[in-house]
Symmetry: C2
């Protein structure tokens, strides 16, 4: 069970000032989440698109990789062209080449109570490499040995890859390059070594032989990954029938690694559900919720930039009794949060009905 | 320049006994190549398909992953079904799921002179893990610190991934798991560390944002890979206009890393060409042949299981003057070899015309 807070949506694009005067913020969503220095920190994915003076043109923002100043440039395409495809609101395809209709970067939002947030005036992690030309998306924050590791989706003409950055203070960030090649996203680190190896879950792309599936990989140093092992795929007729991917970084419990993940089915859209993985061998899935934990129901979850999306990305403890705040992106537009607990999430993973003790 | 030997094709499926009485060998091609113990060793990709008694059925061979005995099983599908797609001879698609029409494994062929080969009676590396369920394909052999490392394509219901194995003697082999996740193939190791790091070139799959491209990755231990960097893509209007991928393991020369790779264009099919990469920073491409080194011209290159394919996979030195045997698969059916040299390959990479000194 997870109870939405009355403040939802807790962050909307209107709370974010654009990174430049010629841009507008169309999304502030899918946040990495952690606790640091007395505050809940969200690393929002902020999506911006250019303000266009000419209504007959669509603008495509991207990092100007030829420039040393790391500025954005705007490509302009004629809306009426027979060579343009604007069917998917997230993309612009012109003369056979596909771009993104907005550029994303990471920006901090801070809160003392976990529900009322203030957004920093400046970006935290802005595109800066050729692999981030089209943006930085959907990060997750995992604390490992006292360091905040930020795994994120790096999008560019070279494809959709996984980048890694780290910080000690959410003021300066160190980039560690691409840890997974194209096509991969939704990579989430476990918070400690398992049998001596750092562990990552990741989600590969689709091809002729299979759809996008969830895998584990292992590393001696967090930078180099190998021993890739498939571990979860969509289940026909369930809430995660069409597509799945990691959600929040897993939490260690006596019952196993507790993992909130996302699943998609044609009827409900993107939902959140729960799985329990074996502590010593997370490749072994102990149980997986038959029903979703959260389905798009509220207005802010149903309507937005992309309809019917609950996209869980972070779990933050709020007391020592196992109470948790589950942060999730809604409708590719805003951020919402629901209160839950380790006990309730384990019950969900096992499909147990919990008696409410008031 | 590369001169085909008169013995071509040097290996054909007819030279290979099937691995079981109910199978037929339809391909012996795309070999890893090296020199060991006084012999040229080829690790052939042998492709087999089941002999079917009923002409109305097509058989799909695969590893029986549920069985402990590592045997093959044959799925049978009705040829006349409205739910079957046999358009691509390499695949069988039934009720929306795609399988391979044959299963591949690795088998040794040996030669004293590099042109006349004997094929071992038994497979060398046969599918044995769930990730090899549909076969082991297109290996490359790189000698690193005295060990023969075999990078190969592992195909299964989980996708097209890169596996790594090693051997000291071509009698026993050790598997090192999947070093790259789905979708990736044509991964080729450099023969030594570069600036302290082992180096790999690999070829990602296609997606909405880009086609299959060549990348480099780096490793401290050959097992875990990171810092992925894009370095080569197809060139419009050249012999490698449509598709590219690594060929033989690179050779260190005073002019740079010499790399024979494959490219595809609609007119000629799969060709071999040459590139020179900077020794200290192979990410920097010094030059790339404007013309192909070898194009499908001979009957055995033009006709076979898949038409018009020259697929270079191994270079073996045959003297101390830089003479080389270039081994390549032809038409997804057989193996051919051409004599060349380091000097000639460098000239090809630079598009220099060489005067023949007779």
């Amino acid at each position: 069970m997870a109870i939405r807070v009355p403040e939802n949506p807790i962050i909307t694009p209107e709370m974010v000032t654009p990174s430049a005067p010629n841009m507008e913020v169309i999304g502030a969503f899918n946040p990495g989440a952690t606790y640091y220095n007395g505050e809940v920190i969200l690393l929002l994915r902020v999506a911006e698109r250019p303000l266009m003076e000419d209504p007959n043109k669509v603008g495509v923002p991207m990092l100007d990789v030829e420039s040393d100043s790391r500025r954005l440039k705007i490509l302009e395409f004629p809306v009426q062209s027979p060579h343009i495809d604007l069917t998917d609101p997230r993309a612009v395809t012109f003369e056979g080449r596909t771009y993104l209709s907005s550029i994303s970067y990471l920006r901090i939002a801070r809160s003392k109570d976990g529900a009322n947030f203030q957004v920093d005036p400046e970006p935290a992690l802005f595109p800066a490499t050729p692999y981030e030309e089209y943006g930085i998306e959907d990060c997750r924050i995992t604390v490992i040995e006292g360091v905040f590791y930020i795994s994120y989706t790096a999008v560019s003409r070279y494809g959709i890859c996984v980048g890694l950055a780290s910080t000690h203070d959410f003021k300066t960030y160190k980039r560690h390059g691409l840890i997974l090649h194209h096509e991969n996203k939704n990579a989430v680190l476990f918070p400690r070594r398992i049998n001596g190896r750092y562990t990552l879950m990741h989600r590969t792309g689709a091809s002729a032989l299979n759809g996008p599936n969830m895998w584990l990989a292992y590393s001696p140093d967090l930078l180099h990954w190998g021993d890739h092992q498939f571990f979860m795929e969509p289940r026909t007729h369930a809430w995660d029938a069409r597509r799945i991917g990691a959600g929040a970084p897993p939490i260690e419990t006596p019952e196993g690694w507790l993992m909130v993940y996302h699943g998609v089915n044609p009827k409900d859209g993107y939902c959140a559900g729960v799985a329990l993985l074996d502590i010593e061998n997370p490749h072994h899935v102990i149980s997986r919720s038959e029903n979703a934990l959260l389905m798009p129901e509220e207005d802010y979850e149903v309507s937005g930039f992309f309809e019917r999306v609950i996209f869980p990305t972070g779990l933050v403890p709020i007391d020592t009794n196992g109470s948790l705040m589950l942060y999730y992106g809604v409708a590719d537009r805003s951020v919402a949060v629901a209160k839950t607990s380790i006990r309730e999430l384990i019950a969900c993973a096992r499909d147990e009905v919990m008696l409410l003790v008031v």
